[in-house]
Symmetry: none
Subunit: 419 residues, 2 copies
Amino acid sequence: MTDRVGAAVVSVGNELLNGETVDTNSAWIGRRLTGMGIEIRRRFTVADDAGEIRTAVREGIESADLVIVSGGLGPTRDDLTRPAVAEMFGRTLRVNDALLEALRARFRARGLDELPPSNITQAEIPEGAVVFENAYGTAPGLAVETDAAVVVLLPGVPREMRGIFDDHVRLYLRERFTDRLTAIEHRVIHTTGVPESRLGELLEGALPPADDAVRVAFLPDLRGVDLRLTATAPDAELARRLLDEAEASIAPVVVPWRFIAESGDIVEAVTDALLGRGWRMAVAESCTGGLIGKRMTDRAGASEIFRGGVIAYDNFVKMNVLGVSPDALEAHGAVSEEVAAQMATGACRRFETELGIGVTGVAGPGGGSRTKPVGTVWIASAHEGGVVTELHRFVGDRRAVRERAAQAALALALGALQG
Amino acid sequence: MTDRVGAAVVSVGNELLNGETVDTNSAWIGRRLTGMGIEIRRRFTVADDAGEIRTAVREGIESADLVIVSGGLGPTRDDLTRPAVAEMFGRTLRVNDALLEALRARFRARGLDELPPSNITQAEIPEGAVVFENAYGTAPGLAVETDAAVVVLLPGVPREMRGIFDDHVRLYLRERFTDRLTAIEHRVIHTTGVPESRLGELLEGALPPADDAVRVAFLPDLRGVDLRLTATAPDAELARRLLDEAEASIAPVVVPWRFIAESGDIVEAVTDALLGRGWRMAVAESCTGGLIGKRMTDRAGASEIFRGGVIAYDNFVKMNVLGVSPDALEAHGAVSEEVAAQMATGACRRFETELGIGVTGVAGPGGGSRTKPVGTVWIASAHEGGVVTELHRFVGDRRAVRERAAQAALALALGALQG
């Protein structure tokens, strides 16, 4: 696979370096190129400075066949990409008549007869460059071809960059590198409730060797760990077959924690399971304070399967709205198996739903005790088959405990629906 | 200013190069360092590959006094930053006993007696490295000091990276580069309920000239527009005086929309106002589905002022739990002034609170009509002084409508508390 097409991506702009703007262009370009079988070797972000731009392009060419530069093509004096790249390849900047006419027409359409001098520079292109029309703004895309590499220049405004790439650059690259593009396919396996390190150990035997055609990446966040499988092959069908094989060997190991959801959100799996059973759900949330309800209703169409819930932050609410018994609160405390169970059954009863979820815990940072430290959360699911409870000890700050508690409650609901 | 401290930022991860993950860490680090008077010179993104990591760090050191690397400190075999950097500086990796003990304690707290072998590598640090405790996960931050530069290693998980930076790295850098940092002070003025363009027009006269020592940036998001004032001066006191002057000229213009909250979250202002009055609040949420409750309880100590709420997603819940009259639902529909008002008063009554909030609207994408298009939201606040209602027509997708509706409801609550 030494002949794979490699790319370097260069983003230009002081606002990117100092963090005023998050660079979403590079990720977008990365996805597009990866999808074409082009490997991103390196990425650079540099200041609006001709020397810095040249250094990055030069370093990019050292390891790649293709350098894509975004940013610095605008009409103002801090837009230096075009002259910097022209100079580095010894190309003179010349006004392109067709571009100049297109710019004039664009300004006339906006009621401006005179083209501002600063915009005229946008019609100047390095000698011999390929021009990609910009249907979304004033700066065209450009490709400068040398013996060593192709350098593509695109504007930094995301919609212009994306538009030019999809309208022209894609096809241009396909033609330029036609014999060397391979197929890369991805697949993601979602898990929740198992730590990354444990998953890594469990998969050690099931995983293909690191240098195989299928690579596995672990992507953890507060809600769980995604396994991203990446297969590289001469054609897409073979890549998908490699993914099928890898998935088949991983699947038995991850059964207890896996959920299926195109969006990656377990709410999708819960929603599908509720629709499948024709059930509706209600929630009784203490420490999560509405987070589960919020997540259940993030998706359109939730009203078919979600009736609502009670945010029972105060014990008064647990008793008077959900019917939790004062005795249980007295004997076991608000954070207890009994109270979680009564909250879940109370939600079912009060909202007349087939499934109810109860969550009560210590989100912190205060409120912890020796027997119930911060992170202690009881969750419960209730339906006609009975009540299931779980005790968790989550680590992390208040936000982490709440996110993890909501996710665990949704996983418990999914288990109840599938059980 | 030739002696300004320069930094290079290196992000590690295949998922960043191929675009599956957008690199928000680099921008965050850029903002933090810029705020300390450190100039970001270059930024690199590289693969999970020891050679690539070393090349980027080496190139970073060439132009900077400080290199910050994020990513590749996890427990799995694709985490290579620690050994790569140790090798490049000829430092042996040794298990740090204090770290190992902290890891063991962390796993014991989760009920796991045995520390997974893969996690033990996370206690290995390059000889002589400074260790920054990670209160949010397992991989500590590290600083390797050489004659040429300081190389700081941080985990790639954003909350861990941010936590370690703010807890330790900031102070460490202040001490390390103390003589070479200039004073840059920021102040943020929070507004909600006024569009950025209108705010821009109103402030045109009040703003200092663009090339002045105080710069103003408009930072809009779904919840409102922040004005960030930045003053640069030889010392901090002078910078703060410049900010005082700028704030004094801006303040009169923004009165109707301004709220005061150190965190930038209007929930803080609502909480302070509730505490000031000795009131408690309850919510009745339809289209926001728990989002307001979630936001009210994001902060610790919410139980003093927030009793809970009802997620009344279904009309059954509006009637049976909140006591909204079937007649009002029949005559005006669920998205109406009458229903919003009855939800707010119902929340007060049901939860026995001094203040109640009701929200009902069409979040979309479906469910809109000619008279009540997607984005139509009625909000209401109720207390002993009466009921106040507001009609909004929010633009944007489902998420935007829900965020904007929750924010508007919280602003209405704040107005009721201050009125």
